[in-house]
Structures are given as C-alpha cells and as structure tokens.
C-alpha cells in the first residue's frame, strides 16, 4: 500500500467554476486538503464558502474544474463506482414507499448482494443506529431524528471506508442533534471510517472532528485548518470541558478573521 492509498481524500489545487448567464462563478479555488483513513474532518464556514460543493466533488456528484482529487488514491469517479464512500444529506432522503429495512438495504440490493446476506447486514445496521424495533415502519411513521438515523445506516450499508455528510443534523432540534452527534461519534469510532462532515455549527464541528477546516466565501477557499486534539474525551464530559470551550473560541475566531457574510448584507 502506497502512502497515497492510505489517505481517504487527497485534494491538490482543486477548483470549481460554475458557468452562469452573468459569467463564471468561482465556487471553490485552490483547495488543498488531505483526510487520513479513519480521520474525522469537519468543513465549516458561512454560506457560499463552497463547503457543500467540496463534498459534492469528493462524492463525484459534480466534477472539479481544476486540480487533482483522489479518493483512496483513485480518481473520484472510480471511487464512486467502487462504492468507497457512503453519503448522507441534510434531508434524510429516504424513499417514502420503502420500509426502514428496504431503505437501508437499497445500496446492497443495487449491488447484487443476496437476500439473506442483506437481512443480516440490515439487522446489524439497525442495531448500530438503535432502530431494531422500527425496521418494518415506513419513513412517514418516524420522527426526523429517526429518519436521519436510517439515512446514516443506509450510508454505512456497504461498509464504506469514507462517510460523507452534508449538514445531516441541520434540520433537527437541539436535543436530538446532541444525541445524534454522540451516536455518530460512537459509530465513526466503531466502523473506523473516515468522515468528511459539512456543518455550520461551531460546537458540532468541535465536538465531532479531529480537525476543523475553516472556509471562507467569494471565492470559496480554505482559510485555516485547526487540529482539535480532543480525542480521549467523549459525550458530556467533552462538551463541558474547558478544552472544548477553548477550541470553540478558536474556531469562532478563525471564522470571524475571515470576512463574514451577513444575511442583511447580501
């Protein structure tokens, strides 16, 4: 295994330009970022900073305009075809006509995994996200937080070594959010998958991530990468520690050092 293959994500000079009627819009410019295997990286920044765009490039849902982007040493497209990553969005995006079980097994079904093997895997995943009793329910019978847990289970179905998450807890209430953050921290540790996590919440980024990548808009770029170094602690102990508050302050300052785009100035 080469050094590069041990990296989950390697982006060098990555840029993305969207053509529009009024000319070109630079969504991302000169992004250099590496994510080690098993590492948890949060992307944070004001709207328009390109954090979701960067995630979509890694997922090969859009393609980069410039630079090189490798996922486990492969081009992003190959990594997508090889199912090297699982993805979850801000909306759970469950298929409403499928039960929880059928939703979780969708990626397995698409890749020709046999029925019995699928059932075993779904049972494992339902256990992992704590939804074993709800496996035959339909999405409209679940709360928002439960739907998001199903989405995470689905993202993990093919045992990806990389998990891409685009503000997955953005639409949830604060209590559910904190609960799912703790759950995600546990799941990420158990599965040993690398995670790229887009968020606009500073406490969320600090709580979850090994490193927080601070981004800034116009043009979207990385301004700072802050190592957290809070791994030892978990749960409420972490949330209430002084080290945690220091990191929150550090990230906040890094964000404000960059020109912040306020809603009323747009």
């Amino acid at each position: 295994m080469t050094i590069d293959a041990r990296l989950a994500v390697r982006a060098a000079g990555v840029g993305k330009v969207f053509p529009t009627k009024d000319g070109e819009v630079v969504a991302l410019t000169a992004v250099d970022l590496t994510v080690a295997a098993g590492e948890f990286v949060a992307l944070i920044g004001p709207s328009g900073c390109g954090k979701s765009t960067l995630l979509r490039l890694i997922a090969d849902l859009d393609s980069a305009s410039s630079g090189t982007l490798e996922i486990f040493g492969k081009p992003a497209q190959q990594a997508r075809i090889d199912q090297d990553y699982g993805i979850a969005f801000q909306q759970a995006g469950l298929l409403p006509w499928r039960t929880v079980k059928a939703n979780i097994e969708l990626p397995l079904e698409l890749h020709g995994v046999a029925r019995t093997e699928r059932s075993v895997r779904v049972a494992e995943l339902a256990e992992l996200v704590g939804l074993t009793e709800f496996i035959d329910r339909y999405p409209d019978q679940l709360s928002g937080g439960m739907q998001q847990r199903v989405a995470i289970a689905r993202a993990l179905a093919t045992r990806p070594s990389l998990l891409l998450m685009d503000e997955p807890f953005g639409a949830l209430d604060e209590m559910t959010r904190e609960y799912l953050q703790s759950e995600l921290a546990r799941i990420a540790a158990e599965t040993e998958a690398a995670v790229v996590f887009v968020t606009h919440s500073i406490p969320e980024a600090v709580f979850l991530a090994d490193r927080v990548v601070v981004m800034s808009p116009r043009p979207g770029r990385i301004t700072q990468i802050l190592p957290m170094g809070l791994s030892g602690m978990t749960g409420d102990a972490l949330r209430e520690s002084s080290a945690y508050f220091e990191r929150v302050t550090a990230v906040r300052e890094a964000l404000h050092g960059a020109p912040v785009e306020r809603a009323n100035e747009r």
Binding site: Q83, I87, L95
Partner: protein
C-alpha cells in the same frame, strides 16, 4: 368515517339531481316557453324554457321502469338486457383501447424523459394530436382498417373503435409518465448516482415508484377518455352492438317511446363509473407508493 361521508355526499348529489328534474317537470310549462314566435309558423322563436310533457321529460320512475319492460314489444327481453350487453361490449372495446393507449403513452413518456431532444420534438405534436376532431379522424382509421382487411389480414371493426379510443387515451398517460418520471427529488437522484446506479436500476427503483402519484390520475383520465372515444367512434363509423349505436337508435324512437333512450344513457353512465372504478382499484394496490400524499 371519511369514506362513508364521501358516499353519503355522492348519493345526496344524485338525489338532488332527480328532485330538480321532477320539480321542474311539475312546475314548468308543459309546452315550454317560447319568445318571439310567429303565429302559424312552427319552430319559429326561441325556446327559453324546455317542454315538460311526458314526451320531452319522462318521469324518473318511468325511465327506470322502462329498463324492466320488453325492448321492442312481443317476446323481446327486457330493455336492461340489451343495455347491459351493449355496455359490456363497449367496455371491452374501451378496455382494449385503454391498454393500447397506456402502452403507447408510457413508451412515449419514457422516450421523452430519457432524451430531452425527443421531448422537444415530440411533445408539441402530442399536444396538437388532441386538437384533431375525433369525428374527422375516426372514418380515416376505419378505412385504413378496411384496406388492411382487404390485404388479407383480418381487421375487425371493433379494432378500429379501440384504436380511436386509444388515440384519446394515450395523451394523459404520455404527459403523466413524463412528469412522473421527472418527479424524484434532486437528493434521491444524487443518492442513486452515489450508488453508481445506471439508467435502468434508477428507473425501476426510483423513477417509476416516484411516478405513481402522477400516473394514477393519468390512468383515470385515460379510462374516461377511452370510454368517450369508444362511444363516439362507434357512432362515427357505425359499428353495431355497442352502447353508442344503441343510444342513437333509441333516441330516434324517442317521440314514440320517450323513456327508452334513457336506458342506454344510464348504461353509458354505469360504463364510465365501472371504468373509473377499475382504475381506482389499481390505485388501491399501489397505496404504499402514495405515502405522503393524502389518500382519499
């Protein structure tokens, strides 16, 4: 609860219609009310209130009773027998027309969704096709059928009727399939792309299930269109045995037997209800695909 209420309102509506009919028949002028009539000139002036005599407006109970009386005197069976037979014949033809229309419409919808170029090229023609008057179009289909028949391949007349019915039926299906297949959310399409799923898995796992709420109204419209198309086509090409022909025939005898044309009229109403109801059954079988949509 809601189902019962819906049925109650339906029955109330039919009752109200019957009451209005009988009330007007009771209160309105027997020979109608004509303005600007010139003495000694029949048919002059404008009738602003229709006649209410038994020839023009038979009693509702007479219409119903007529169904039980013999069709044309003598030993002929009660009117309801030929009405049911004729309605069943037309229903069968309309069902064939519906199937042809749904197949053609679904293929057109699939092609248009797959290739945008096909949508730009086909959709305007599909819309224009529905402005061609059926009365003009029906004899052409029939004469083409006759020519095929002469060529040696048998072409029964009912097939012409079915083809004409399908001409009306395919339109809502083509549009419904096109809209339905484009219905999935962006996020679901992204998800399928992240699974590296190609066109066919995306079609069967995502696009078709997501299209169901658009498809059911389209199928229902197609059923109604197929019935209308079949009845009009029967009259237009003069096919015997169906309800359309029977309507015209008995209406011609209306002055001597005024309640008789109402037999096939009821028959065609029942026909439409059965056609729409059958499609509703399809919707019942697909109710899991309509989650999130209010199911009435």
């Amino acid at each position: 609860m809601r189902r019962g209420a819906a049925a109650g309102w339906g029955i109330l509506g039919v009752l109200a219609l019957l009451i209005v009919w009988e009330l007007y028949k009771y209160l309105g002028p027997a020979e109608g009310f004509v303005v600007g009539a010139i003495d000694g000139e029949t048919g002059s002036g404008v009738m602003i209130l229709p006649r209410t005599n038994d020839r023009a407006m038979p009693h509702v109970w007479d219409m119903v009773a007529r169904l039980g009386q013999s069709t044309s005197g003598g030993n002929t069976p009660p009117l309801i027998v030929p009405v049911v037979n004729a309605a069943a014949t037309t229903l069968g033809i309309a069902a064939v027309g519906w199937l042809i229309g749904v197949t053609v419409g679904a293929i057109l919808g699939l092609v248009m969704q797959r290739w945008r170029l096909a949508e730009w090229g086909l959709l305007p023609w599909i819309v224009v096709s529905q402005t061609v008057p059926l009365i003009a179009f029906a004899p052409i289909v029939n004469s083409i059928g006759t020519q095929i028949d002469r060529g040696g391949t048998p072409w029964p007349q009912w097939l012409s009727v079915a083809v004409i019915a399908s001409y009306l039926a395919f339109f809502p299906v083509a549009v419904g399939v096109l809209r339905g297949l484009d219905a999935p959310d962006r996020i679901h399409l992204d998800l399928m792309r992240s699974y590296a799923a190609g066109y066919w898995p995306t079609l069967t796992r995502l696009r078709l299930p997501a299209a169901v709420p658009h498809l059911l109204p389209a199928l229902r419209l197609a059923a109604a269109n197929a019935v209308v198309g079949a009845v009009v086509a029967e009259v237009s090409i003069g096919m015997r045995g169906g309800i359309g022909r029977m309507l015209i025939q008995l209406a011609g005898q209306g002055s001597s037997d005024p309640a008789a044309p109402w037999g096939p009229t009821f028959g065609s109403i029942a026909l439409g209800l059965v056609a729409a109801g059958s499609v509703a059954l399809i919707g019942f079988g697909l109710k899991n695909y309509r989650r999130g949509e209010a199911i009435v």
